[in-house]
């Protein structure tokens, strides 16, 4: 449906700093849209960091960022990044 408006769902770009993660799984557990899942791989500390399973479902609520005890995940707003890209080019 081509809606008659400019209201779009916000999209987040998730950045995971794998080596800081201690595999607590809070981000996976609390993500309202189940975007994340713990991976099979090991990080430098020997934990399983999360990976992005459904990136398109991320709505930039930043709960993972708030809840992460190790500051190892953060989200940026896609549209802002796109604008910056545009202004650069």
């Amino acid at each position: 449906m081509a809606y008659f408006d400019n209201i779009k769902p916000k999209k987040g770009n998730i950045h995971i700093v794998k080596d800081r993660c201690k595999g607590c799984g809070f981000c996976v557990e609390y993500c309202p849209n189940n975007v994340l899942e713990l991976s099979e791989e090991f990080n430098i500390k020997g934990y399983h960091p999360p990976y992005i399973k459904h990136e398109e479902d991320c709505i930039y609520c930043q709960l993972c960022e708030t809840i992460c005890p190790e500051f190892s995940i953060y989200v940026t707003l896609k549209e802002e990044e796109e604008e910056i890209e545009k202004s650069k080019s």
Partner: protein, 649 residues
């Protein structure tokens, strides 16, 4: 004391006298035990007829009278009042129905006369043991409840409030306004719907006598006419309307976008939203079903940016209890949805719209600012097909009834389309044009003559998409030719259904519904705004499909009916209610289970009747194994005597 009974039989012109030999009945009954006076008269209900009865009571010192005439639903009150005037208790007057139950349904005069005698005798037997009763008086709570905040509910609430009564107006959605606020222009004058609706909405919000509860639903109801107790669930909006300054910052940060109900999915809204700019109350609502989450607070961006701190994530649902004397139900309608109507590509093709969506496209404050554009590519449609009776007048598959307003709004749509797109062409497929109403026929003619709308009498057989066009196959039954139109847009005049959830509410209120789910009026002609439950009234499309003038008229009618109750010091309830003989009652509780009015309860091991709730239906009496329960003036003894009298002689 010996009973002195008077008997009167009415001719009702030839209604009774044509089939029943009234003279013979009167003579026959003159010698019946206890009858002191027996006579026939041409119209007992006429003033001279009543006077004869009053004189006979006074002269012959009668203490009971039986009138053989039409149904007690018609003239029982007339004769009981006359009996009271004559100085006897009004419950000593009984009606023998010899018209509906005898003369009207028989042809053989001899047999009908015999039956009239038997009916009369059995009622005399009943009257013989009648007690003198006084109506039960009950106090009145002088406030009203209006359920539904569309045009009908608003009109009822304003009429009641302007008559000086407090009103509680309950609306399920975040704003009042109903469907009328979604409309663009209204037939037949083409005045802007919002422009005539918003002043009323503002009046509701500012009226000191109206307590407006939006985002609220009636949860439970108890009590009876004059004294209802209502439990209302107020859902949390998570926004304090007193603090909210409508700055709109919250919607700029909210990450969610979902289809907007107000624009019927033509636009989207955020999880925190105001339904439309003129919404009453003017505040935002946080839609918990689409918000990323409050436990724990997943996003919280709206509260972060809210400068006046109006957003409170800890708001809880509240249950409010209100006491009211009468209730007006104006729950309105919904259009047939895509679940019910899969034909004509509705819900499959983007450019197949329903009537309300087209209203939003025409609306000056709508998603396109009044430009008619196709939802698929936002281009102006050059050929538009309007189809009437989609789901209506189709007893085999959909609704048997006529949705009444579609003929008129389709003519309006076609006209508005031509006003917006001058070089466009509008086609209307119809079965019949029903344009009864002031200025309505002229309006349809104007669409045809001035705006060149092509009316095709026939049904559409198939709609399918091909090369960006919607191909409509139909037939013009007047010329007998097959028609194929390559349309850019199709608008369906969907059947009108009672609004979703109205059936559950009707069950809570104990209001009857008709076969289509609309609320039933007490009498189709003489009590069109009253429900069968006393103290509850109906307004608007909840009762049947109707246009705005009719809905407003009915709403005002319902308000006056409510005032009839609220303006009384006390209400009176018929005293022919059940009574329990406590020495016979064993407290088995069977009567409690069967009572349809929840009037019987057990107290200290015995059944106890709440006389105000009891309607005297007699179910408890029929159920009671020990004959402890009986309805006053319809006791088992009286019923037994009536049966004996009808079987003998």
């Amino acid at each position: 004391m010996k009973k002195r009974i008077g008997y009167f039989i009415c001719h009702c012109g030839i209604n009774i006298a044509g089939t029943v030999d009234v003279k013979r009945v009167s003579e026959d009954l003159a010698s019946y035990p206890g009858i002191i006076h027996s006579e026939d008269y041409v119209y007992m209900c006429s003033d001279p007829g009543q006077s004869r009865m009053i004189e006979a009571i006074k002269e012959k010192k009668l203490d009971k009278v039986v009138i053989a005439c039409c149904s007690p639903t018609l003239h029982e009150t007339t004769f009981r009042n006359a009996a009271r005037t004559a100085g006897i208790n009004s419950f000593q007057c009984e009606i023998a129905n010899v018209r509906e139950q005898c003369s009207w349904v028989h042809k053989d005069k001899v047999k009908a006369t015999e039956k009239a005698i038997k009916i009369s005798k059995s009622v005399i037997e009943r009257a013989r043991f009648n007690e003198s009763l006084e109506p039960i008086s009950i106090p009145v709570t002088r406030r009203a409840l209006v359920i539904g905040g569309g045009i009908s509910g608003i009109q009822s609430a304003l009429d009641l409030a302007n008559s000086g009564y407090e009103v509680v107006l309950v609306e399920r959605s975040p704003s009042i306004g109903g469907h009328m606020i979604q409309l663009s222009e209204t037939f037949p004058t083409l005045d802007c719907s919002q422009c005539i609706m918003t002043p009323k909405m503002v009046e509701v919000s500012k009226h000191p006598k109206i307590k407006l509860l939006t985002y609220s639903e009636v949860q439970d109801i108890s009590g009876y006419v004059g004294n209802f107790k209502v439990k209302i669930l107020k859902k949390p909006t998570f926004v304090d309307p007193d603090k909210c300054t409508l700055c709109d910052e919250c919607t700029t940060v909210c990450p969610v976008a979902v289809p907007n109900e107000f624009d019927l999915g033509l636009t989207r809204r955020r999880a925190i939203y105001i339904p439309f700019p003129q919404a009453i109350p003017a505040t935002y609502t946080l839609d918990i079903n689409h918000c990323p989450g409050l436990v724990p607070i997943a996003c919280g961006k709206c509260a972060d940016v809210c400068e006046p701190k109006a957003i409170d994530y800890d708001m809880k649902p509240e249950i409010l209890e209100e006491e009211v004397g009468s209730i007006i139900v104006s729950t309105g309608f919904d259009l047939y949805g895509k679940d019910e109507m899969a034909e004509y590509g509705y819900g499959t093709y983007e450019d197949v719209l329903d009537g309300l969506q087209f209203e939003r496209l025409c609306s000056a404050s709508g998603p396109t600012m009044g430009k008619i554009l196709r939802p698929s590519d936002h281009k102006e449609p050059k050929e538009v097909v309007f189809i009437q009776c989609v789901g209506s007048r189709d007893p085999e598959q959909h609704c048997a009834y006529c949705s009444k307003i579609c003929c008129m709004y389709t003519a309006k749509h076609a006209m508005l389309y031509k006003h917006h797109v001058h070089d466009g062409q509008a086609y209307v497929f119809y079965i019949d044009i029903r344009s009864g109403g002031k200025g309505y026929e002229e309006f349809v003619q104007r669409a045809v003559e001035e705006d060149g709308v092509v009316y095709l009498r026939g049904k559409v057989s198939k709609i399918f998409e091909e090369n960006g066009k919607i191909r409509v196959w139909g037939v013009d039954t007047l010329s007998g030719k097959d028609i194929e139109i390559k349309a850019d847009m199709v608008v369906l005049a969907m059947a009108i259904r009672p609004s979703k959830g109205a059936d559950e509410l009707a069950k809570k209120l104990k209001i009857a519904m008709d076969k289509d789910g609309f609320l039933s009026e007490a009498h189709p002609k003489l009590r069109p705004v009253e429900s069968v439950t006393s103290g509850m009234f109906l307004a608007g499309a909840a009762q049947a499909p109707k246009d705005i003038p009719e809905a407003v008229a009915q709403a005002s009618g319902a308000a006056v009916k409510a005032v009839n109750i609220l303006s009384q010091e006390k209400l009176y309830h018929a005293p022919t209610v059940a009574a329990v003989n406590s020495t016979l009652c064993t407290g088995c509780g069977m009567c409690v289970d069967v009572c349809p009015y929840e009037a019987v309860s057990l107290a200290e091991g015995k059944a106890n009747v709440n006389e105000v709730l009891c309607e005297g239906c007699g179910t408890c009496m029929a159920t009671c194994l020990r004959a402890a329960a009986s309805v006053k003036n319809v006791t088992p003894q009286q019923v037994h005597n009536m049966i004996i009298a009808s079987l003998e002689g």
